[in-house]
Structures are given as C-alpha cells and as structure tokens.
C-alpha cells in the first residue's frame, strides 16, 4: 500500500513519519507538497506535526487554504484513511473535516513529555491493533493541544464512539480528556500525541506502531475484498 505525507511550510515531523512508514512498516510512502492538487494513487494520507505557516492567525488556519486541501477533502469523502497528528489535527479541525478546535494548553505552557493514553475505541480502522481500555504511551509536544467542543458536539462524539484515545492524566485541559477523535464516518482521525515518535523501543516506546499497523491491516483487508 502507499501512504502520502503532506508537507506544508513549517511542517517538521514529516521525515519522522516517512521513516516510520518506510523503515518500520516497510510500506511505500511519498511526501506530497502542499502546492499539489491531487492525491491519486494513494491509499492513506498522513498530515504531520509542526508549525505550518508559523501558527500565524491560529494553528492550521492558513495551511487549511493550501492548494492540496480540496484533494484532501475529496480523499476523506471517499472513505479512505486520513490521519492528522498534532498540527495535522489542528489543520483537520480548521478545514472542517473534524469537529471542535484546539486551544492554548490550560497551563499556557508548551508541554513535551510522554503521556499514557487510554484506548477508548478499539474498533476503529486506526486502533484495531489495540484492546479496549489498553494503556499506550505516546509523546506529546504542543502548546495548542487543549481540545474544545461544545456540549452538543461532545454528546455526538460519545454517541457515535468517535473518541478513540483519551489522556489518562489530562495534561492540557482537553474536554473529556480527549487526545484523539475521528469524524462520524470513522475514516479521519486527528490526534495530538505523536505515534511516529514511538515506533522503536530505543525511542522510549513502540506503541505508535499499533496505529500504523491498524491502517495497513485495514487497507490490505479491503484490497483482498476488492480483488477476491
């Protein structure tokens, strides 16, 4: 299968993702510039962390109007997997592909540390390699990671089982301890923690592999159905 990694001016985790997919998952991967307008030929799209456009205006607010975004919206609508990590999550909320928004951490501090997460839904295409309620350890590194949505939206997220990962010790003030959510269809995930920084034990954790493995399993199972 083939992954696309979108690269915006100010992205800074795209190569970490690239190595995670190429060297750990042994899958095809290609960087796609924000200036392109097609995602044809890809099975999944990853949006990396960083500070696209310097976080000017709001995190993700300017990247959201890049030439690649209409292609991303089409790709998401087709039901194929889209994963936005950190700034990628912020871009997805700004683009209207995920509900809510990411605010300043409640402490007003940039937080860079490993956090235990609770797997809140192990049935999604991004989390099937985990067990429900499993604790996984992933690093966070953000200043604007405080997930906010209104009560109505939160009710819908809970009712549709869209909350995939929760913080065990909420580090940033997120509503309902939310660390990662999907869209209603379940094929777009946004999360603040960085799975690509936790793909080898030498990095402190390899729990991030489960997320990429879940995506690979999902895409390959669909290929079998399509060709079978």
């Amino acid at each position: 299968m083939k992954f696309a990694i979108l690269a915006f001016p100010g992205s800074n985790c795209e190569m970490d993702l690239y190595y995670a997919i190429q060297d750990i998952m042994n899958e095809e991967v290609e960087l796609v510039s924000y200036k392109k307008n097609s995602l044809e030929g890809f099975d999944a799209v990853l949006i990396p962390g960083g500070f696209s456009y310097g976080d000017y205006l709001r995190s993700g607010a300017i990247a959201r109007f890049s030439p690649i975004i209409p292609a991303l919206q089409e790709f998401a609508k087709s039901g194929r997997p889209v994963l936005g990590i950190c700034n990628g999550f912020q871009i997805l909320t700004e683009a209207g592909l995920l509900p809510g928004s990411l605010q300043k951490n409640v402490s007003a501090k940039f937080i860079c540390q490993t956090e235990p997460l609770v797997v809140n839904n192990a049935g999604s295409l991004f989390s099937s390699a985990f067990k429900l309620a499993q604790i996984i350890n992933l690093p966070i590194a953000h200043g604007d990671g405080n997930y906010y949505c209104d009560q109505e939206t939160l009710k819908r997220l809970i009712a549709n089982d869209q909350i995939i990962f929760k913080y065990r010790n909420n580090p940033n003030g997120s509503v309902a301890n939310i660390a990662g959510i999907t869209n209603k269809a379940g094929n777009v995930l946004g999360m603040m923690p960085h799975p690509e920084r936790a793909v080898e034990d030498i990095l402190g954790s390899s729990d991030g592999v489960g997320i990429f493995q879940s995506i690979v399993n999902y895409v390959k199972s669909r290929e079998v159905v399509a060709h079978g």
């Binding site: 205006l57 709001r58 607010a61 300017i62 109007f65 909320t93 700004e94 809510g100 928004s101 605010q103 300043k104 951490n105 409640v106 402490s107 007003a108 906010y148 949505c149 209104d150 003030g173």
Partner: protein
C-alpha cells in the same frame, strides 16, 4: 478608500490562559483596579472605494467567517471608516 477595523475575541465560554497570565502579572505590579483583561486580535483592512457598502459588508463577513475568526471559539465585529483616496 475605506478602512475596515476587525476585532476578534474569544467567546465568553472560552478560557484564555494568555490573558489570565497578563492580568495576574498586572496584579503583581500593583494595578489593583484591573478587574478583567481580554486579549484578542485586531486587523486593519484597506479596501478600494469602487465597492458598494452592501458588497463590502458581505465580503468582510465572508473574510471573517472563512479565515479571521474560528466560530467554535471566537466572535468578531468590525467598523468601517471612509478614508481619503490617495492623491
């Protein structure tokens, strides 16, 4: 020419830790009369004068809704003032 001054601020329900940090620092400096402090964004947009007021209002609302403000957590308002055209 017209000058549009756009003010964007957080909705009341949204916590603003940056504003709180500033307010606390003012308290430490002894400004005991400060009861509340808000921190928002301010934009100045200059527009050509060959656009009707209705169209201008429509365009500024569009700009704010689309980009300058995030309706999840922010409100905005704006004032339009006529300025003299460049000679």
């Amino acid at each position: 020419m017209a000058l549009v001054k756009v003010y964007v601020n957080y909705k009341k329900s949204i916590l603003n830790p940056e504003a709180q940090a500033i307010q606390k620092a003012l308290g430490r400096l002894g400004y005991d009369n400060v009861n509340d402090l808000k921190l928002g964004k301010y934009f100045e947009i200059t527009v050509a004068d060959d656009i009707s007021r209705d169209d201008l209002n429509k365009e500024i609302n569009d700009i704010c809704d689309k980009m300058l403000a995030n309706y999840n957590m922010e409100n905005y308002h704006y004032d339009i003032t006529e300025t003299e055209a460049a000679q």
